[in-house]
Symmetry: C2
Subunit: 114 residues, 2 copies
């Protein structure tokens, strides 16, 4: 779907649940201390199924994100890697939107909490 598709770069963490012509829906799972390699997300909605704390990083930038179970946030198209810095598992649903996304380079790291 995209270069550095997380399902390809980090298959232990990302899996495709299903897709159609408008969206591709992924599930993400990790445990405390787990990290991913850099990968690219298109414009997406992230729904947290568990509460978690994680660090998103790229080059020498990083942002720490804390989300409560049940929160739904906008993840603008971006390239990043992730690290579970909490003491609980992370489980999220990612709804990737098909069609034109924002430029990967233009977004701040992490979700846009609006």
């Amino acid at each position: 779907m995209v270069d550095e598709d997380p399902v390809v770069t980090n298959p232990d963490h990302y899996a495709v649940l299903w897709e159609n012509d408008r969206v591709r829906v992924l599930e993400y799972f990790d445990t405390p201390g787990a990290t991913t390699t850099p990968h690219v997300h298109p414009d997406s909605v992230l729904v947290a199924l568990t509460s978690f704390r994680r660090r998103l990083f790229l080059n020498d930038e990083h942002v720490d994100v804390e989300l409560a179970a049940g929160r739904a946030v906008w993840l603008p198209a971006q390239r990043h890697a992730g690290l579970n810095i909490g003491d609980s598992d992370t489980r999220t649903i990612l709804i990737e939107l098909k069609g034109e996304s924002g430029a990967v380079e233009s977004a701040d790291l992490g979700p846009d909490f609006g």
Copy 2:
């Protein structure tokens, strides 16, 4: 947003969490026995935050749906009303996709489990 927008027809159950130019994100909540009036959904992804059983109905048609917490399903554009036929609260996130949806009349009632 649409005629029979559920946020307008059933404000006790549906609330807008946030929106941008690509999606509008709703939260739905009800308790056992609660019912809605008919309303219209555009093409949407539904994420179940709780396990639930509900009946979706329109005119003399109905379908009973059971979803486990954490499931994410496609809800093609449709008009329906809902009734919580389970013994637990229902809490879901609905990601409504902006842009052209399928015809409301063409979809079967309820989610498309693929």
